[in-house]
Structures are given as structure tokens and as C-alpha cells.
């Protein structure tokens, strides 16, 4: 038996990981159910933990930085190129938005970031339109509604930027960017549900 095989056998037979799936997974499931019933509950829990531990962080900014990561729930699991493009474009947009906290204090770099965000938004919308063109769905209205919502929040993001360049309050940009990321995820989720 090789070392690797021994390690695998040890891990397989070890009881230590049982806590993860026996205790934590049910907790996660309950939290997810509770969040569906009471939106914002998870955030409240996190905020309370941070408060309790006296952790001084900007929660909105941290959320934005972390929001680019792929979430299984929001990936369209269809093999066709259009849907893979959809995943890619959504990921690209979220990545750029998540970099806002790093770029916002350097005007030149921030303007370039905004241009990149503009291109990413356009590419995502083009990809959505390509899927619409190619596939006819029963529940098209839901997809179109989600696209409209995304456009609305994109416009709101643009308005927030205009205000930021007057008043300098970066936190509002972070909030708007988070909302736009959420809308991006909802587009993916809607496609995943409808198809």
C-alpha cells in the first residue's frame, strides 16, 4: 500500500469530517431555508458576529470584494456555447465590479475600470440577447423581466457614479455595485430555472 493510498484510507475511515456533513450541512440548509423566508437574516447574523468579535471592517466593501466568486447555485449548467458564454460574461462582470474598492481612489484607474464595466455589461447583455434569439422559451417573460431589471440596476449604478464624482461617497458605489452583482446572479438563476 502506498503512502497516498494509506492517506486516502485514513481520510475515508476517519470520523473527524463527520461533523461537517452531520452538523454543519444541516445548519447551512436551515440557514438557507430561513433566508428564503426572511431575506436579510444571514446578513444580520454575520453583522452580529462581527460586532461581537469587535471586527472593524467595512461590511459592504468586503461583500463586494468577495462577490466575484462563482456560486454553484448561479451557474447555468448547459453545455451549449451560448450558456457557457453567459456564465463567462457574468463572471467577467462580477470580477471587474469586485475590483472597485481597489481602484476607486485612483481617478485614472477608476475611469478605466468604469470603461471595463461598461464593456462587460454590454457583452453580458449581448450574450443574453443571443440566447433569446436562438432559443424560444415558454417562460420568456420571466427572462425578459430579469433582463429589464438588470438594465435598471445598471442605469442606477451609472447614476450612483455620477453622484459619487460630486460627493465622493464611495460607500454608495459599493452598495450599487453589490446590487448589480446580485442582479447578474439573478439573470443566471432565471436562465437556470427557466431552461
Amino acid at each position: 500500500m502506498t503512502m497516498e493510498e494509506m492517506r486516502i484510507e485514513t481520510e475515508t475511515n476517519s470520523m473527524v469530517s463527520m461533523t461537517l456533513y452531520a452538523v454543519m450541512y444541516p445548519v447551512f440548509n436551515e440557514v438557507m431555508c430561513a433566508e428564503r423566508e426572511n431575506p436579510g437574516l444571514t446578513q444580520d447574523i454575520i453583522m452580529k458576529i462581527l460586532e461581537k468579535k469587535n471586527v472593524q471592517i467595512n461590511y459592504t466593501e468586503s461583500l463586494l470584494r468577495m462577490a466575484a466568486d462563482d456560486v454553484e447555485e448561479f451557474l447555468v449548467d448547459r453545455p451549449e456555447q451560448e450558456f457557457q458564454d453567459l456564465n463567462d460574461k457574468a463572471r467577467a462582470l462580477k470580477n471587474i465590479l469586485s475590483k472597485i474598492p481597489d481602484e476607486i481612489n485612483d481617478r485614472v484607474r477608476f475611469l478605466q475600470t468604469i470603461k471595463d464595466i461598461a464593456s462587460a455589461i454590454k457583452e453580458l447583455l449581448d450574450t443574453v440577447n443571443n440566447v433569446f434569439k436562438k432559443y424560444q422559451y415558454q417562460n420568456r417573460r420571466a427572462l425578459e423581466h430579469q433582463k429589464k431589471e438588470f438594465v435598471k440596476y445598471s442605469k442606477s449604478f451609472s447614476d450612483t457614479l455620477k453622484t459619487y464624482f460630486k460627493d465622493g461617497k464611495a460607500i454608495n458605489v459599493f452598495i450599487s455595485a453589490n446590487r448589480l452583482i446580485h442582479q447578474t446572479n439573478l439573470i443566471l438563476q432565471t436562465f437556470k430555472t427557466v431552461i
Partner: protein, 462 residues
């Protein structure tokens, strides 16, 4: 002691020496003093140190003046000149001063006032206030400060209207500048050229102040331009048809009214409308009222194409005078009836002028596919790609894709929309589609002309 200090002038004989020389000096001093007292106070503001920050509203809705000395303007300077290179710039300036293209000695004759706003840099003579020149902000490529011993030079690298100049093929730095790359008849390669506006200020502090003010102007302008780019990207993506667009769209359920999601509202920057109009005195922008457009057979032309046309008309109404709208209608009519795309572009460029050349961007969806390449090249040569006359690299992504109405009117047979007779194109529209599009454009042209007439009657000025 005090009595010694005060020497009372006694009447009597005045030294002839004093009479001749001091009188002259007094005369000159008196004249200089009179000149100083005659000169008006500059329109200026206190700036926050150390970076000379000024309230953006002043640059947007007002202006600031600084005293400078105007040495002159060099034209047909190779565009590849590095404005950061002290050696290169000084070499040009020295040669120009030797050949008397620029002022040699600095005297009060070069006294000038530079007036800065978010719209342009204006230079006038200090005495008499005659205008020397005006440079729109988007024509300024770079600003340099060079200290040459006691001379403090501020040099602005700006666009030159002519655009190109022949350069010998032996020109060593050719590779930097071959943006056009076409050969003239003599075999010389055409290169981009620019102008250098050379100013002098009193000291380093004044030079830095001027540079920082210009930097703030650039920030405002480029910020606005970037937000516009974002808005247009959202608009383009939102209004792209959600199904294969044809002149005969028989599925009414496919018409997604994304215009509800994207409100065509005025920017919160009151600066935007007036910047587009190229005015010096910005006026608050307002959402223009939609003109009463009769669009026949809207059910037969897709919602998106109709909306795009209407949007463009709305824009024209806010940017052009009534006479100009009529001229636009005439040019459009000529293009549809056989004028070449080249002629159409040149005439439109002339009509819009420098401050409104960005309006050409709005025509993109309406240029037939066969003319689109020429149109895109033309936009590039006049310095308009995707922005208010500002070319940046990242805009290159926005090539003609399926997002334009002209692309989208490719029908299932692959026939290309457009006026099939224009320019002797080999491609022919299906007759009914071509007729429908022509009728649409005719209606729009008539409406545009009617707009011009109605604006004359209302006495509305843009």
C-alpha cells in the same frame, strides 16, 4: 534726523540732466502705470493648496483666468512628438524662435490672458482683449511644463484641423505615427500632425498652478465622457433586439419594450447638454420633448429600429438649429438617392463642425452594411470613435456587431438591408423590404424638415 530725511524741494534751477532723463523715465513709468491701471482685473478664484483644487462647478458653470505670455503656436508638428521629452520640445521651440515663428524676447507685448473652463482654453491679448485662439478641451492631447533657466514654459499639444501632412519616408520615427499609413503620390507617407501652443509664465508656482487646473479640467471632461460611455453601453445592450430583426416582424410578442427599463433622461450633469452643443455658457440641460413624429407602418418595422430613429431625431432637435436640420434632411435625401457614403460623411462633418462631430456616432445603426466599413474608418480619421470626440484604446471593442439596426435588418434570406441602388451595390434588397425602409427614411426625412420649419416658426434657438 527726521528733518534730514525730509528734503523739501526748493524752487529754482533744475539740472538739465535731470530734466531730460528723469522726464523720460517718468513718462515711461507713467505710461506703464496707466497701462496697469487700465487693465481689468482677472476673473480668478482662490485655490486650495497644495494641489490648487478648484470647485468643479466653477469649471463647469464659470471660468478662471490666468495671466501668461503668449509666445506663439507651432503647426504641423509631427504627432509622435513626446510631450514629456524636454529635449524634443525645447529643440522645436529653439528652432522656432530662431526662425521667428515664436517670440524671442519676452516683453509686455506678449502679455495675454488664458481663460479656462470645462469647455475650452481661450487665449486673448491682455490689452484690447482680442482673441488669439480657442482650443476645445477634447483637442488637447497633453500639457507640459518646461523650465528653461529663467523661462517657465507651459506647452499645450493640441490637434491640428488639417490632420495630416506628408512626411519623407526617411523620417526616422515613422513607425510611431503610421496611423493612416497611406502613401501620397510622391511616395511620402502621411503622418498625423499636431500643434504646440507655447506659453510662458512668471515662475514655477504659476506653471504648476496652470498645469493642475488643466488636469482638473481633463478629469471633469474625461469623467463625463466615461460615464457617457457607460450609459451608451447600457443603452446599446438594452435596445438590442431580442429576436432576429426583420422589416416584417410578425411576432408581436417579441417586441421587448426595454425603453421602459432605460429611461432616456437628462444626465444629472448639467454640463452634458452644453458640452455637446459646444457652448461657452452652459445652459441647464433638459429632457427634450419628443417631436410629433409620424412613423407609418410601425408595426411592420421593428420597435427597436423605430425607437433608434426617433431617438436620433430627438437628439438632432436639441443639437442643431432649424436650418441645420433642414440641411441634414437634404444630405440624408441625397445619400438615399445615390450620393456616395464618402460625400455623405464629408458633408455631415462639415455641417456638424468640430464641437458636434460626435453626432455622427448616432448614425451608425442607419448606415447599410456595405458602407459601414467606410463609415467606421471615417469616424476614426476625424477622431470620433466612442466618446465625445475622444479616442481611447478600449473603445476598439465596439465594432459593428449585431447590435445595430442595419445589421439586424438582415432577413432570413441573408439579403442586406439598404438602399440597393446606392453606390451601385451588387446586393439587392427584396423589393418589399427596401421599399419599406425607404418609406421609413422618407418619413423621417420629411419629419426632420418639418421640425426645422416648425422650429423657425416657434423662434426656438438651440
Amino acid at each position: 534726523m527726521e528733518e534730514d530725511v525730509k528734503k523739501v524741494k526748493k524752487p529754482g534751477i533744475v539740472s538739465p540732466f535731470k530734466r531730460v532723463f528723469l522726464k523720460g523715465e517718468k513718462g515711461r513709468d507713467k505710461k506703464a502705470q496707466e497701462k496697469t491701471t487700465e487693465r481689468r482685473a482677472l476673473h480668478t478664484f482662490s485655490l486650495s493648496l497644495p494641489d490648487h483644487r478648484i470647485d468643479p462647478d466653477i469649471l463647469l458653470n464659470d471660468y478662471i483666468e490666468k495671466e501668461v505670455k503668449y509666445l506663439g503656436q507651432l503647426t504641423s508638428v509631427p504627432g509622435y512628438l513626446n510631450p514629456s521629452s524636454r529635449t524634443e520640445v525645447l529643440q522645436l521651440i529653439d528652432n522656432a524662435r530662431k526662425s521667428h515663428q515664436l517670440a524671442g524676447q519676452l516683453t509686455s507685448e506678449q502679455d495675454a490672458v488664458v481663460s479656462l473652463s470645462a469647455y475650452n482654453v481661450k487665449l486673448v491679448w491682455r490689452d484690447g482683449e482680442d482673441i488669439i485662439l480657442r482650443v476645445p478641451i477634447h483637442d488637447i492631447a497633453a500639457v507640459s511644463y518646461i523650465r528653461d533657466d529663467s523661462l517657465h514654459l507651459v506647452v499645450l499639444k493640441t490637434a491640428q484641423e488639417a490632420g495630416v501632412s506628408p512626411c519623407p519616408s526617411t523620417c526616422p520615427d515613422l513607425s510611431k505615427s503610421m496611423t493612416l499609413g497611406s502613401l501620397s503620390e510622391s511616395g511620402a507617407v502621411l503622418v498625423e500632425v499636431c500643434c504646440l501652443l507655447v506659453l510662458a509664465v512668471d515662475n514655477k508656482a504659476a506653471a504648476e498652478e496652470l498645469c493642475l487646473l488643466l488636469s482638473q479640467v481633463f478629469q471633469i471632461v474625461y469623467t463625463e465622457s466615461t460615464i457617457d460611455f457607460l450609459d451608451r453601453a447600457i443603452f446599446d445592450g438594452a435596445t438590442t433586439p431580442t429576436r432576429h430583426l426583420s422589416l416584417y416582424s410578425d411576432d408581436s410578442s417579441s417586441k421587448v419594450d426595454v425603453k421602459e427599463a432605460f429611461e432616456a433622461e437628462a444626465s444629472t450633469f448639467s454640463f452634458q447638454g452644453s458640452l455637446e452643443a459646444g457652448d461657452n455658457s452652459p445652459s441647464p440641460s433638459s429632457t427634450p420633448a419628443s417631436p410629433q413624429t409620424k412613423t407609418a407602418s410601425e408595426g411592420e418595422l421593428s420597435t427597436t429600429a423605430t425607437e433608434l430613429l426617433q431617438d436620433y431625431m430627438t437628439t438632432l432637435r436639441t443639437k442643431l438649429s432649424s436650418h441645420e436640420i433642414q440641411q441634414f434632411a437634404t444630405l440624408l435625401h441625397e445619400y438615399r438617392n445615390g450620393a456616395s457614403i464618402h460625400e455623405f460623411c464629408i458633408n455631415l462633418r462639415q455641417l456638424y463642425g468640430d464641437s458636434r462631430k460626435f453626432l455622427l456616432l448616432g448614425l451608425r445603426p442607419f448606415i447599410p452594411e456595405k458602407d459601414s466599413q467606410h463609415f467606421e474608418n471615417f469616424l476614426e480619421t476625424i477622431g470620433v470613435k466612442d466618446g465625445r470626440g475622444i479616442i481611447t484604446d478600449s473603445f476598439g471593442r465596439y465594432r459593428r456587431t449585431a447590435s445595430s439596426a442595419s445589421d439586424s435588418t438582415t432577413n432570413g434570406n441573408g439579403a442586406v438591408r439598404g438602399d440597393g441602388d446606392v453606390g451601385g451595390s451588387d446586393e439587392r434588397l427584396a423589393p418589399s423590404e427596401g421599399d419599406e425602409w425607404d418609406r421609413m427614411i422618407s418619413d423621417i426625412s420629411n419629419d426632420i424638415e418639418a421640425l426645422g420649419v416648425s422650429m423657425d416658426q416657434e423662434g426656438v434657438t438651440p
